[in-house]
Symmetry: C2
Subunit: 415 residues, 2 copies
Amino acid sequence: MTDYFDQTGSAAREASRLMAAASTGMKNQALASIAHRIDATREAIASANQRDLDAGREKGLGAALLDRLLLTPERIDAMIEGLHQVAALPDPVGSVSELDYRTSGIQLGKMRVPLGVIGIIYESRPNVTVDAAALCLKSGNACILRGGSEAFHSNMAIAAAVTSGLQSAGLPVAAVSVLETTDRALVDRMIQSPEYVDVIVPRGGRGLIERISNNARVPVIKHLDGNCHVYVDDLADLNMARAITVNGKTHRYGVCNATESLLVAQAVAAEFLPAVAAALQAAGVELRGCEQTRQLIDAVEASEDDWGTEYLGPILSVRVVAGIDEAIEHINCYGSGHTDAIVTRDYSRSRKFLAAVDSSSVMVNASTRFADGFEYGLGAEIGISTDKIHARGPVGLEGLTSQKWIVFGEGQIRQ
Amino acid sequence: MTDYFDQTGSAAREASRLMAAASTGMKNQALASIAHRIDATREAIASANQRDLDAGREKGLGAALLDRLLLTPERIDAMIEGLHQVAALPDPVGSVSELDYRTSGIQLGKMRVPLGVIGIIYESRPNVTVDAAALCLKSGNACILRGGSEAFHSNMAIAAAVTSGLQSAGLPVAAVSVLETTDRALVDRMIQSPEYVDVIVPRGGRGLIERISNNARVPVIKHLDGNCHVYVDDLADLNMARAITVNGKTHRYGVCNATESLLVAQAVAAEFLPAVAAALQAAGVELRGCEQTRQLIDAVEASEDDWGTEYLGPILSVRVVAGIDEAIEHINCYGSGHTDAIVTRDYSRSRKFLAAVDSSSVMVNASTRFADGFEYGLGAEIGISTDKIHARGPVGLEGLTSQKWIVFGEGQIRQ
């Protein structure tokens, strides 16, 4: 007995074989065709989006959610532009590295290959449908996309453009399957079906990601909290430290690479804290400080919970520490392994911080806001992994591939 | 309420921080000290091993299991030699690659770092205790080792030498924890405790690995079946094809990179099969063939099950296929993603096979027996991964690490 999910899964598995062998030219042509179809069906996409927005308003969705759901003409332009950008990226598939001879005479190397079928589970942003499809397609994978129910009609309209683009490039339409139902049971099937899906990328809130991680039998590339720290060392340039702190906190509040916690070396706390507090408070940021902090500046009392909290808003926790060792200990204890920075002039401390902080991005004298796929030159990202295996930090095309070993011989046998 | 497992887990987590920062010199000194302690306590190890062997015989363990359990003086020598070999390998930790400037002015690179705490669950071979400890130690990880109950006393004697070696090098003894009980419930705790364990490596039979994979909440690096194929193309050098087939099948039977299935292009089947069958049958190999095969040589009728079976013994399944496309399809359908080889003189077919076969090692004109960590120059291996994410094929020191992003700035902030 096969059902809708089995049919979708086995079609995706089959399509993944063809996608793995698809040429760079065909994949780029498909991306261009999808961009063209989205442009040509703007009206259909906008009216499907209107249906979702109307239903969302009726259901009483909040303003933030409705905004994420909304596809303005500019956002549709951005989707199209994103497709062209992914087409312009180098194709990772088939790239061979470290092709060296062994003493047995075989020549051994590593070839970059697609993972197979990627399952992506995401919430209400319909543009993720296009971004995810583009990255999976370019990296030679098939994908099964399961978007949020609020964006169902928008996703279906986008899916039609994707299907038509794949067809016109001669690629299998099952290379991108947007699930045609929002039945929750299908999510459980997806994450428990290693026969159809090679890896799951959940994009959404902590609740979604934890539920998926706890129940998955397929490997998951997680993107959990970004509780990012800046540690201002006593040997820091304090003007630089202030600029980095203010930028990390106030450049954008709702992003995972925003600075959420400031650690300051005791020896410079009295000089540094009043200056940075003035700048932050002028920008409307609430400060929550430890006892020593509150002796130096006006701040709410920080609770134990504050140290582990990703505020995603105009709040910053502030703690005075004895020095770099206590800062590293604090970060490895309360941090989320996302992005953490030190500001220092000292050579050895910069090396120590880089080596000892166990996060996906560790920075010296730079704003935590740099931790994303565009700034890192990946061109686009499917998420920022806080996992330790396979891919850490921004995950672009390379994170959607793995490397297999290849051997060239001339008849060698094992002695 | 903390208990034995919580204490072991949190001590390992703490030790992993120190191990991540341990210098190459200290780690190598620890490896040398462990080798020295094993040499100095040979008698204690041998008598502990004798206890296990006596208990095993009493319990009626089979001869193969008793042999795996046995520590002869030569096997103890090999353990010591293995420690020296791992000490001689380059230290992967801290190696920085691709350190390039971005347009923002930040300099971005990747630093190789330990995974943290590795949980290894294995069966009765006591030498795994030393091999696994050595690889985890050199790669800057802490590990929790849970060996089979049959080898309990041998493992405890080896653990004493490891502990003493770590101590004399000034490294935390919790860097290598050999569980002091074989309580099965601890395995479930290990695989469900991401707070203590970053990755699980199960080494053992299919049953063990599937049970762990199905219940784990910690990522698992799996080593499943090696159902390895040789495809003999119609454009092959048939003498080479015969040598590669016979070597792959008969060099050693019980290993995961042994050839288990032979695919032969129809156009050369009548010429090739009788010659290879004579050589294999002379070596005592039973052949199980498809209908076309059985018209050409004397072979048992192969069932559908045979195509998916890893015999680990003197049996080979044989199938005649139309050509390379059918061979690739057969391998991707029935293979286990371990190691598969083509024998051909044709340039394009060699490229096609390399690209299309979805296995951890894909070979042209070489024996499948080459797929192991020593032959690949990894120095040693913790297993051969049949997973697609993180590490494929032989997993050595590099597979026990990941890469984090590092950023050097001079005060850059995001515009």
